[in-house]
């Protein structure tokens, strides 16, 4: 219990206390706190257990890089696991719980893993469970997965909304610290459209709550004034709580705005998070830098944290990280934290610096603090139980990069560590060349820009305030200029204080040889310095192998505080420099992104749009069961009380054969084909002839692919000399239109033809059954319906209740049938009028199932047979393929492989044993169906046939019609279903077609 709230100071609102709970205990914080700062203020020091060894862990940072303090926020459906307490803004009533501990944080039985430490080194699971012992993994996996891990997500549906937003701008500035603010100011003044986004609750970065003097005032006051200036400009968008996480092609960047994550629940209509897709002409990366730790023994003890975090808790939140604070550093910049502690009245007990010489400003800070200054020394081990109680200090040998044995002990309840700074080059790396090594900063800097971005400030290596401001201003002006704007120079604010140099003395592992305690490199994945050595010994030496073998840098923090030390330790093992070892490329996202934010509104009913026919409401009102056909919703059957699905479709199909039924076929693709060359065009598109199709007639057409296989079928109606209405299958409506457009653009640009989708313009109703003519005669008075005047395949135009209709005498069911097309907005009127006219004949609506039954009984092919592998000949449609003209597919339909007599051919099957045949069943010889030598074909479409009073099927069979009369077995081994079938002609019903020509 070392942290406490300071009596004054911090950018918090002490007049607004907030109540919250952690693991069920109630605490109080203030507006402006993070969960982390509020817990620290309440002296809560253990916030979680580590991933593998279950060691107690406390706060390590004050930002997105936090590896330890992962908690589950909120209860119930809004529960969000693995949230970093350091970025969770406190709100009244916040409930947080710790993770990866059982039964409690204070006592965790899994901590025994720590005692088994040597066993759980890198590669333990591979070595233990691969090879001969692999079966053991199956047994132990459950227990191991339970022991290692993170928080558990909720299984309840998320009650909140997430949204997408598309944004376009001239200059996107990612990061709103000193460099980002200056970049935005410089670009905005030119009139360029500027977006300034930053992950924190308020823009300002390191200036937030800062006391450093900038432009004659405090950093805090300066940033507020500049942000007010920017906010007043129409051409500037300021986005706090917005993390730019990914950099994609064509300067497209992804960002997540946490709109309501800082509220208990979002306001009505407010999204919880908003995903932004930015398309920026120019980008300024001002992403800052992250402080890096130094490896030493037991460096994970609660109470050990980054030096900058210590400063931020004091200056931003008015919280002291400890009562007896020590600093362990290798650079002058870290002394800012000591200055902040001193200013807040917090005692720094000792300063341990690996260097023998420090800058004068740093020395003044040290002397003013009254701390004991130990130069040329390093911390080799942290001491204490569940919390830091002291440190061991020893002399450092910079040549060896390690400390001497033998140490001195100092008391401390908080150790601030600074090993220098790692520029945040993630976005630059995603959209740039290999990172550049900077020896002075011992850090990787952004490489070559492969997209229009420029880096500025700390992420570009400008770690000092003045350099950062200047780089930002320049980058902003250059970005605006690159967009064609003329930026005016912006004045740089003066910095009062003497700068603290940030170039560190390289210290990666401060332990003496064979030093005691676990020395963690990756705190979140429990990867230690000895794991890196082990990886090296076992030959996993490249950075990519190191990462995968040890999992270093692969936790949710993606190694923000550990990657550099990991590289440095491998470099030491390999006796190479860090740039020679190299670094891995960063991939999006920079920080974790909620899947909800990526899905946006595209969930549930909006996962994809739903397409409804003009008769949709009628179907629902009639009690139809709807089913998805692509994105269309179509009626499957219209149930009557007590009916099963099978009873319902059998009744519907039977009624059509006996009298009349009507069905909604509005989903068929309809394409308006017009122009002086329309007939010629269709003649080249279809495999059968269309040049001589007379006006007022329809023709069934086949479309082949260039490779000769069947693609689509449908009827095309000639409405005028130069005008056709083409229909396609529901599924291929869009691809066929695209293909027609392609042919007119790329293959036959000389043809004057316009094609336009009119699928939505027309409602399509099929009226089918022996009484269909009687129904139409009653409903339409200006078309002569007689067989002579309106023959099969005829197309007529007329009126129904004054509404214009097109009627085509076509039959998919094999019955006398008509398709009636009318204006879509009048679809329901026409449908109900036809129902009324058909009432004397017992007309019924029928659905997709009965449509299928009727066409299978006729042996008509549909989607299951047009499966992209069949030819016209396979399906008995060879007569429809002209040998006298060129058309798409004419060059290849008769190639060797497509005319092979061994190909599967369409035939019919009837169930010989009364069993129901399954689509997809394989056809095998009847003698030993359990061990068939091979498949002879498969079943494509099945139904119960009310006409034959049997289960029937269509299928593709080797030998085809030659096998008619044979007995085979349709086997479906997944369900253990075998049905004995007899091979028959695919024309089950009315093979001579007398009914539809009646």
């Amino acid at each position: 219990m070392s942290g406490y709230r300071l009596p004054s100071g911090g950018a918090i609102d002490r007049s607004r206390p907030l109540s919250f709970s952690f693991d069920g205990r109630r605490y109080q914080g203030f507006a402006g706190d993070t969960l982390a700062s509020a817990l620290l203020a309440n002296g809560v020091d253990v916030l979680g257990r580590s991933f593998k060894y279950h060691r107690p862990r406390g706060l390590f940072s004050a930002g997105v890089e936090e590896p330890n303090a992962l908690v589950t926020l909120r209860p119930g459906a809004r529960a969000e696991p693995n949230t970093r307490a350091t970025v969770a803004e406190l709100f009244d009533g916040l409930e947080a719980t710790s993770q990866n501990r059982w039964p409690s944080l204070g006592f965790d039985v899994m901590a025994l893993n720590g005692l088994a430490g040597p066993l759980l080194a890198a590669g333990f699971y591979y070595k233990t469970f691969m090879g001969p012992t692999r079966k053991a993994w199956m047994f132990y996996e459950h227990f191991i997965r339970k022991a290692a891990g993170l928080g558990a997500g909720t299984k309840l549906p998320d009650p909140d909304r997430y949204e997408e937003m598309n944004a376009f701008c001239d200059v996107l500035v990612a990061g709103a610290g000193p460099a980002g603010i200056m970049a935005a100011l410089a670009a905005a003044g030119s009139g360029a459209r500027v977006v300034l986004a930053d992950e924190q609750a308020e823009l300002g970065g390191s200036l937030r709550g800062g006391t450093l003097e900038v432009g004659g005032t405090t950093g805090e006051a300066w940033r507020r004034a500049r942000l007010a200036e920017l906010a007043a400009l129409d051409n500037v968008t300021l986005l706090p709580r917005t993390t730019v996480y990914g950099y994609y092609d064509d300067n497209t960047l992804g960002a997540v705005e946490r709109v309501a994550d800082h509220l208990a629940t979002p306001a009505e209509g407010q999204p919880r998070e908003r995903h932004w897709t930015f398309r920026a002409r120019q980008v300024v990366l001002a992403c800052g830098a992250i402080e890096r730790p130094i490896v030493f023994g037991d460096n994970d003890k609660p109470g050990v944290m980054l030096a900058e975090a210590g400063r931020l808790y004091v200056e931003r939140h008015g919280v002291a990280p400890g009562r007896q604070v020590a600093l362990f550093a290798n650079n002058d910049g870290a002394y800012r934290s000591v200055a902040a502690l001193s200013a807040a009245g917090v005692k720094t007990a000792a300063i341990v610096d690996a260097r023998t010489e420090i800058g004068s400003a740093a020395r003044r800070i040290a002397e003013a603090s009254g701390a004991e200054l130990l130069l040329g020394q390093v911390v080799t081990r942290a001491r204490g139980g569940q919390h830091l109680s002291g440190i061991e200090v020893a002399a450092f040998d910079p040549d060896q990069g390690a400390s001497a044995r033998g140490h001195r002990q100092l008391g401390a309840d908080c150790l601030l560590v600074s090993g220098g700074w790692t520029p945040t080059i993630h976005l630059a790396s995603q959209a740039g060349g290999a990172a550049r090594w900077d020896d002075a900063l011992t850090a990787f800097l952004p490489g070559e820009a492969l997209q229009p971005w420029r880096a500025a400030g700390a992420c570009n290596g400008a770690l000092g305030g003045a350099a950062s401001l200047a780089e930002g201003a320049q980058a902003g002006a250059e970005a605006a200029r690159a967009c064609g704007f003329a930026p005016n120079p912006v004045a740089l604010p003066a910095l009062a204080e003497e700068p603290l140099a940030t170039a560190p003395l390289p210290v990666w592992d401060a332990r003496p040889p064979r030093g005691k305690g676990k020395a963690f490199v990756d705190l979140q994945h429990d990867v230690t310095a000895s794991d890196v050595s082990l990886a090296h010994r076992e030959g996993f030496r490249s950075v990519e192998h190191l990462k995968r073998y040890t999992t270093l840098g692969m936790a949710t923090d993606q190694g923000k505080t550990s990657n550099m030390a990991g590289l440095a330790l491998m470099a030491r093992e390999r006796k190479l420099s860090i740039p020679e070892v190299g670094t891995t490329r960063f991939r999006p996202p920079y920080t974790p992104v909620a899947l909800g934010a990526l899905a946006g509104q595209g969930i549930g009913a909006h996962f994809r749009p739903t397409r409804r026919t003009p008769l949709h409401d009628w179907h629902l009102a009639a009690g139809a069961e709807m089913m998805a056909a692509g994105i269309w919703e179509r009626p499957r059957v219209y149930y009557r009380a007590g009916e099963t699905l099978e009873q319902a479709y059998i009744r519907e199909a039977r009624q059509v054969r006996e009298s009349v039924g009507l069905a909604d076929v509005s989903t068929l693709g309809k394409i308006d084909v017009q122009g002086p060359d329309a007939a010629e065009f269709l003649n080249r598109v279809y495999s059968n002839g269309f040049l001589k199709l007379p006006e007022g007639k329809a023709r069934y057409g086949l479309m082949l692919r260039e490779d000769g296989l069947l693609w689509d079928d449908g009827t095309t109606w000639r409405l005028g000399e130069h005008r056709f209405l083409m229909t396609t299958t529901t599924a291929n409506a869009a691809p066929v239109l695209s293909q027609l457009e392609f042919l007119l653009a790329a293959v036959w640009p000389e043809l004057k033809v316009a094609v336009t989708s009119v699928t939505e313009q027309w409602a399509g109703i099929v009226l089918s059954g022996p009484r269909s003519r009687d129904v139409l005669t009653a409903a339409i008075d200006d078309i002569d319906m007689s067989n002579a005047a309106f023959p099969f395949m005829g197309v007529r135009q007329g009126h129904l209740d004054g509404l214009p209709v097109m009627v085509a005498r076509l039959s998919f069911s094999g019955e006398l049938a008509y398709e009636v097309y009318c204006d879509a907005h009048h679809g329901e009127a026409v449908w109900t009028r036809l129902l009324a006219a058909g009432k004397p004949f017992g007309i019924i609506p029928y659905g997709l199932e009965a449509l299928g039954t009727l066409r299978i009984e006729k042996g008509h092919v549909a989607g299951p047979e047009l499966d992209g592998r069949t030819t016209a000949e396979d399906l008995g449609l060879a007569a429809m393929v002209s040998t006298k003209k060129h058309f798409i597919g004419s060059a290849m339909f008769d190639r060797e492989g497509l005319t092979d007599p061994g190909r599967l051919k369409l035939v019919g099957f009837v169930s010989a044993d009364g069993g129901k045949i399954r689509p997809g069943a394989q056809l095998v010889a009847a003698d030993d169906p359990a061990n068939p030598p091979r498949s002879l074909g498969h079943i494509t479409s099945t139904t119960y046939s009310p006409a034959l009073e049997k289960y029937i099927a269509l299928g593709l069979l080797e030998g085809g019609a030659e096998r008619i009369g044979e007995r085979l077995v349709a086997t479906y081994p997944l369900k253990n279903i075998d049905v004995e079938v007899e091979v028959v002609s695919s024309h089950f019903f009315d093979p001579d077609g007398s009914r539809m020509h009646a």
Partner: protein, 97 residues
């Protein structure tokens, strides 16, 4: 990825459908051999670098375009309308708005 449609301007990839290799011309059915057809229908180079491809702006103007694209960097160097309307809009140079 943004594709600079000569009619609509730079648009998101999601509005387009890939139409394949645009370096092959359909053989003249009057004179082509089986080999010509085999080459046109089945054979495709898989170049590393510059490639010319068909893209259909199906969620826009519905024009077919020839797009010059680098298959490594995804950089697009230009797009032009295919067919009778080619003259209606100038070839669009890389036009990220």
């Amino acid at each position: 990825m943004l594709i600079p449609c000569p009619h609509c301007g730079a648009r998101d990839l999601a509005e387009f459908t890939y139409g394949g290799d645009a370096t092959k011309d359909r053989p003249d059915p009057g004179s082509a051999t089986a080999e010509d057809w085999c080459d046109y229908v089945f054979h495709r180079d898989n170049p590393r670098g510059r490639h010319v491809e068909y893209w259909h702006h199906g969620q826009g103007c519905r024009l077919w375009l020839k797009v010059t694209r680098d298959t490594v960097s995804h950089r697009i160097d230009g797009a032009e309308i295919v067919g009778p309307w080619a003259a209606a809009a100038p070839k669009q140079a890389r036009g990220v708005a």
